[in-house]
């Protein structure tokens, strides 16, 4: 239901612990990070906000690398992630323009379903572990676990995501003309330490998905072309304003092939 609101109370925590407490206490708070999705929805009366928590001072925007493991705070702006290795870096760079990237956060993108949520694909391919808090306590899991638990909603605060730095990564996205900044389809591929290759896509199904059949074909010694052809069986193409299901089905193998070639699989 669409409803408008008046003046929502906004708290501004100065630490992670304060932020968790502020978001999870009743009435549950809506999280405001970069605001690139929430503020226009609020302006247009598409979202009701009783209480909000702004993360700008909560110090959960750090990016660190230690012992081969990368940790990215949920409030890190996309611009700060754009220089990271593939697939996270190129995917972050592919979202929005410079002004949007400077403001939008990696956590906000992950919390937003299609046609946003671009980073869900790279993080699935990386096997990234997300850390979040809700009124039931602290949780960890991958992107699919976070979504299955209900994803972003009042009372839930995504804190950070961590992943092993892979041997190599790649990211390819379907490019559109300049008036359309949303990405219709993208493929991320990762070669982990030891040689295992994992592949994930956004835009091939209503939510980001692993392309496990294609991964198995590769692991069994199949060619890139074989793996690319097999990827369609992992997809659930759909129609929306960005692309038709038929088009998605047609281009997915092309982009899987490009991602694997870029990876040097």
């Amino acid at each position: 239901m669409t409803s408008t609101v008046g003046a929502a109370a906004v708290s501004m925590p100065s630490s992670e612990a304060e932020a968790v407490a502020a978001v999870t206490e009743q009435p549950y708070a809506t999280v405001l990070a970069g605001g690139t999705l929430l503020v226009p929805q609020h302006t247009l009366g598409q979202v009701a906000v009783e209480r909000a928590v702004w993360l700008g001072r909560a110090e959960i925007d750090g990016i660190s690398r230690s012992n081969g493991r990368m940790t990215v705070g949920a409030a890190a702006p996309l611009a700060a992630c754009a220089g990271l290795d593939a697939p996270v870096g190129p995917c972050s760079a592919n979202i929005g323009d410079n002004e949007v990237k400077a403001q939008a956060t990696i956590g906000g993108n992950i919390c937003s379903p299609a046609p946003y949520g671009d980073l869900r694909g790279p993080l699935l391919a990386l096997g990234a572990i997300l850390r979040w808090a809700d009124p039931g306590g602290a949780h960890t899991g991958d992107v699919a676990d976070f979504v299955a638990a209900g994803g972003a909603r009042p009372g839930v605060l995504l804190l950070d995501m961590a992943f092993e730095v892979p041997e190599a990564g790649s990211f390819v996205a379907l490019r559109r003309h300049h008036t359309q900044s949303l990405t219709a389809l993208a493929v991320s591929a990762v070669r982990h330490t030891g040689g295992t290759v994992t592949i994930a896509a956004t835009g091939a199904a209503p939510d980001a998905c692993r392309l496990r059949t294609a991964e198995t074909v590769l692991a069994d010694g199949g060619s890139i072309a074989d793996a690319a052809a097999a990827s369609v069986s992992d997809a659930d193409p759909y129609d929306d304003a960005l692309a038709s299901a038929a088009y998605r089905r047609r281009v997915l193998p092309v982009y899987v092939g490009r991602a694997l070639e870029q990876l040097g699989a």
Binding site: A7, A8, L38, P40, H42, W54, E99, V100, Q103, S181
Partner: protein, 174 residues
């Protein structure tokens, strides 16, 4: 909440989640930031926040306490236009003008940040700013001219085609 807008301290009373665009236009009567798409997609509402270009339609008021906001009204005056404003006039980089304020602000941030006249870099800096009239060529030329430090005469119009100059007062076309 206290804001400095175009070098003037202002106390604003809008609700915390109100967009900066709404605050500027509705509460402070500063109308150069345009309400285009109101979802961050067109760039017409761009202003400088602490020197950085920001989409005012995406920016909640509560995130700005103590910030310095600059709009086109703060860049120059009719008697003393900023360099980018002069370049937009000299290169005739506007038709309907709806996108111009955001373009001028973004270009100002680009040049203040040391941006050059490199066409690719200018395109990247202005990406996300949509113009439905000019075809962008004259806008890019204007920003490049301002970045180079070209001599800019707002009484004449530069030609894209052969870089000749035509006196506006003579009504000439190139």
């Amino acid at each position: 909440m206290e804001l400095t807008v175009n070098s003037v301290s202002r106390t604003v009373r809008s609700a915390p989640l109100t967009s900066l665009l709404t605050v500027l236009r509705e509460e402070l009567d500063i109308t150069s930031p345009k309400a285009g798409c109101e979802s961050g997609g067109c760039g017409a509402c761009t202003v400088l926040v602490d020197g950085q270009p920001r989409r005012s339609c995406l920016t909640a008021l509560c995130t700005l306490d103590g910030s310095e906001v600059v709009t086109v009204e703060g860049l120059g005056t009719p008697e003393d236009l900023s360099r980018v404003q002069q370049a937009f006039i000299h290169h005739y980089a506007a038709q309907c003008g709806f996108c111009s304020d955001g373009m001028v602000v973004a270009a100002t941030a680009y040049i203040n940040g040391g941006g050059s006249d490199d066409a690719g870099a200018i395109r990247e800096a202005l990406a996300g700013h949509f113009c439905r009239c000019t075809g962008y060529v004259k806008i890019l030329e204007a920003v490049a001219a301002a970045a180079r430090g070209d001599e800019l005469d707002t009484g004449t119009t530069a030609s894209s085609a052969n870089n000749t100059y035509v006196k506006i007062s003579e009504g000439g076309q190139t």
